[in-house]
Amino acid sequence: MTLLELVLFLPAIGFLLTLLLPRDNVKLIRAFTLAVALIVFLISLGLIGPVQADPQHMQFQTNVTWIQSPAIRYHIGVDGLSLWLVLLSTFLTPLCILVSWNSIQKNVKLFYAFMLLLLSGVVGVFISLDLFLFYVFWEISLVPMYFLIGIWGHEKRIYAAVKFFLYTMAGSMLMLVAIIWLYVKSSSFDIPLILNSLATGRLSFTPTEGLWMFLAFFVAFAIKVPIFPLHTWLPDAHGEAPTAGSVMLASVLLKLGAYGILRICLPLFPDAAKASAHWIIVLALIGIVYGALVAMVQPNMKRLVAYSSVSHLGFVVLGIFTFTHFGMDGAVYQMLNHGISTGALFILVGLLYDRRHSLEISDYGGVATVAPWLTTAFVITSLASMGLPLLNNFVGEFLIMQGAALAYFPWAVAAAVGVILSSVYMLWLIQRAFYGETPEAVRSHFLKDMTAREWAVVLPLIAMMLWMGIGSGTFLPAVRGNNEQTLNLVLKSNLNARGGVRNAAPVTLAGRAMRPELKESADAR
């Protein structure tokens, strides 16, 4: 059993064992699941070394037959693209368990069990190299999330949970059609094999076929990302989920969509991706600005952060479809950044909710005087989310905008509007919630500032924000190789360049030429 398989199966085994624990012994359940999640995280750290040594190729591969006919293989592996996403998932799960420590009171056993199952599901998606396996994990990750929202959420939880499930289900049905169709064409579900047949010309799609399959995959992923106008499930799901659910949803589950685009849509259907890039970018830009504008007027904190996700994920999609090195590296980096900083925001909002039992911004005010440390943590996280230099989001947004500027300058301008708006809604939130008069209602609820347990959750996240903001050189090199392969596939495709690749050739050259400088500048920072 490889390290990777341990990371995949330990949480699933933990899920089953948790179900066997006595349901009244809450302490044991919490301690056990936390221990499992921590062990999984520690094991997953072991993946870093080998993958960083050779990030372009799949490491820790296991490839055996699961079902003979149709040829479904249990084929997993991790490379530079999936490495950090796997680590993001294993890193956040123990934090999510810790943050739910006291706030989850009913049905405790099931809650923590589902957290572990969710971890297995998402890790499975990130490491599957077989389309069928990918689909299986994709659906499995849906089930625990549905329960997390539906059982432990806020008032409108049932509506939100069902909406979440149905949206994703509708998308994944289209994906299933595409997967089966791909199989009928290629007699394989194995992604590397299919890529190989495409490269050697043994398999090819007509433009129409390619476009339809691309679209079927893309819609499934676009719902998950989410890309405007398929985002409407997200504010409900985020707004109603319990803290841990919101964190996992925002930080990890949304990444499944963007990861799918990078792992499946672009390499398999480069022509179609290129042909569709211009309108996808337009949707991404609409998402960036629209998400930010709607976030600004939200009276509910969680929904505010949720809409800010729509805006942030718009950046990711923009970066990918600029088809430049900068844009794609920035997109992957931004996926991680968003995972850390939005996850932290949801956690901090959760800490506020644990005290005041309200998510309405108008119920707060002057929190800084009663809980200065909590305020400090919140402000740092918000600054990160806004894209302040030295903190993580800056690096990702900068790279994406650079890529967008190289591809077509007005896109960068539009994206910059989103960055400006993000400071507007975050700063305005901070002002209303944390500064000003402290009403009596707030004073009476905030009896204590951060506890040790809460620090244990928040500090690692803040440390990561700083590290990823200053030391991006730790993370970016592993990502580059894979993006370069994908980019080559897209740029070399035969269709006339349109939209996202207007200046394709010079951009590539510029991108390569500027790489060393970029590294230096990252190091300097």
Partner: protein, 488 residues
């Protein structure tokens, strides 16, 4: 062998499971009359063991496939597959029924005898290679099921269900029989192998219009039996009215057998004419999926909801039939197996929560089940997820194979409609899960006793089967694929 109608030993052996069950059913009737009430407890055990023995005989008999009774029956891999399936369904039904009948104060040997007789009919439908034999099988199975549907004779809903089922059912079988007469008139035979030979022979091809009309009449009868649109309207009323274990049995047993006959008629006898019947089935499949799923959205009674869901599932299976290929046949066989596991399981839960007089079969009665009986709720959730088609359950691979066979035959639009339908279906199954886990039980709710031993067994077996089919589908698919080619 003209003139010699004495069956050989080999033929009798091929027919042994049916013979055994006939004897067992008859004995049950006699025991019912002569045993004391206390001894009657043994009757379901006897029926259960008879079914297991028949299952073993069927498996053993599969070693020597071949025709029986002047080619009226064809004991091949296909027949064995469905025989084993209906025997297992019968055994599960008995497990679900014992405590239910005790609560209803209607224990009796004749119930189990009727189950056995119905299963004999279904066996005949699966093995029949002759239209007359198929008709006899359908009748044997249906008549027993009509009585079962009205078994609690003091219950108004039972009576209504039985009468409705009987009137509409006999009407539909009449269509089938009329179609058989037409076919005999046109081709001079009722034997499917003969008919196939005739259809394949370009020199004396029968009149296409007559054959088409005849096949249409046969299809009416079959579509009625599988509750496909536009002949589905009986199913919700009958499933809702009949005793819960019988509804569970009807939703899988007669349906599996009817599909077996359906497959043998379309994919063997009338396979040469598939360009004529496949488009018809395509429309029926689309209509059935849509009507079943959308009608289920608005149901508040769990039995009725499962009835509409069962209509929708018949639609998915019809997609596999529309594919009109060997992979389609395999997919349908796999679907029926996993559908039997998950749907019987779901009905076992209904039997459990319904209690005396079936007073608790509204969706609201499930409220808080996740807290009150976590294990039952968890298993029910597995069945529901399987009915939705979530991976690692049998229902997922069932759908997967069906839609793969459809895409293999280039039925792209049908596949997309079908899969979007299953997204719609997710909504009403989720409603049950929502009620179990996300709504608290109302105050002062009657306490729910533990599931009876029989129901526990049924839940465990069908739950395990659902998971195993979802993780190792090849176990069943390989057998299905060997059976799907019939005997040439």
């Amino acid at each position: 062998m003209p003139g010699n109608y004495m069956p050989s030993a080999a033929e009798l052996f091929r027919f042994a499971p049916e013979l055994l069950l006939t004897a067992a059913g008859t004995l049950l009737m006699i025991f019912e009359a002569i045993t004391s009430p206390k001894q009657k407890r043994g009757l379901p055990v006897f029926a259960f063991l008879a079914l297991l023995a028949a299952l073993v005989l069927a498996v053993v008999g599969a070693a020597d496939p071949g025709p029986a009774f002047s080619n009226m029956l064809q004991v091949d891999g296909f027949a064995t597959f469905f025989r084993v399936l209906v025997f297992a369904i019968g055994a599960m039904t008995i497990l679900m029924s014992t405590n239910y009948l005790k609560q209803a104060e209607h224990e009796g040997g004749e119930y189990y005898a009727l189950v056995l007789f119905s299963i004999i009919g279904q066996c005949l439908m699966a093995t029949a290679n002759d239209l007359i034999m198929i008709f006899l099988g359908i009748e044997a199975s249906s008549i027993a099921t009509y009585i079962l549907a009205g078994y609690l004779r003091d219950d108004k809903r039972n009576n209504e269900a039985a009468l409705k089922y009987f009137l509409l059912g006999s009407f539909a079988t009449a269509f089938l029989l009329y179609g058989v007469a037409w076919i005999y008139g046109t081709t001079g035979s009722t034997n499917l192998t003969e008919i196939r030979r005739l259809l394949l022979d370009p020199r004396n091809a029968p009149n296409a219009i007559l054959i088409g009309g005849a096949l249409g009449l046969v299809l009416v009868g079959l579509l009625f039996k599988v509750a496909a649109v536009p002949f589905q309207s009986w199913a919700p009323d009958v499933y809702q009215g009949a005793p819960a274990p019988v509804s569970g049995f009807m939703s899988v047993g007669p349906k599996a057998a009817a599909f077996a006959a359906f497959l043998r008629i379309t994919m063997w006898g009338f396979e040469p004419a598939k360009i004529h019947w496949a488009p018809v089935l395509c429309f029926v499949a689309i209509a059935t999926m849509i009507v079943g799923n959308f009608a289920a959205l608005r149901q508040s009674n769990v039995k009725r909801l499962l009835a509409y869901s069962s209509i929708a599932h018949a639609g998915y299976i019809l997609v596999a039939l529309t594919a009109a290929s060997k992979t389609g046949t395999e997919a349908a066989m796999f679907y029926l197996t996993s559908y039997a596991a998950m749907n019987l399981g779901a009905f076992a839960v209904v039997v459990h929560i319904a209690r005396k007089g079936e007073k608790h079969v509204e969706i609201g009665d499930l409220a808080g089940l996740g807290n009150r009986q976590p294990l039952t709720a968890a298993i029910f959730t597995i069945f529901l997820l399987s009915l939705i088609g979530v991976p690692l359950t049998g229902g997922f691979f069932a759908k997967f194979y069906v839609f793969k066979s459809a895409l293999d035959s280039n039925l792209i639009a049908l596949t997309i409609i079908g899969l979007l339908n299953s997204a719609v279906a997710a909504f009403y199954y989720l409603r049950l899960i929502v009620t179990m886990y996300m709504q608290a039980a109302p105050d002062g709710v009657e306490s729910l006793p533990r599931p009876s031993a029989g129901v526990q067994c049924a839940l465990a077996v069908s739950g395990a089967a659902t998971i195993v089919l979802g993780v190792f589908p090849s176990l069943v698919l390989d057998i299905a694929s060997r059976g799907a080619s019939f005997i040439r």
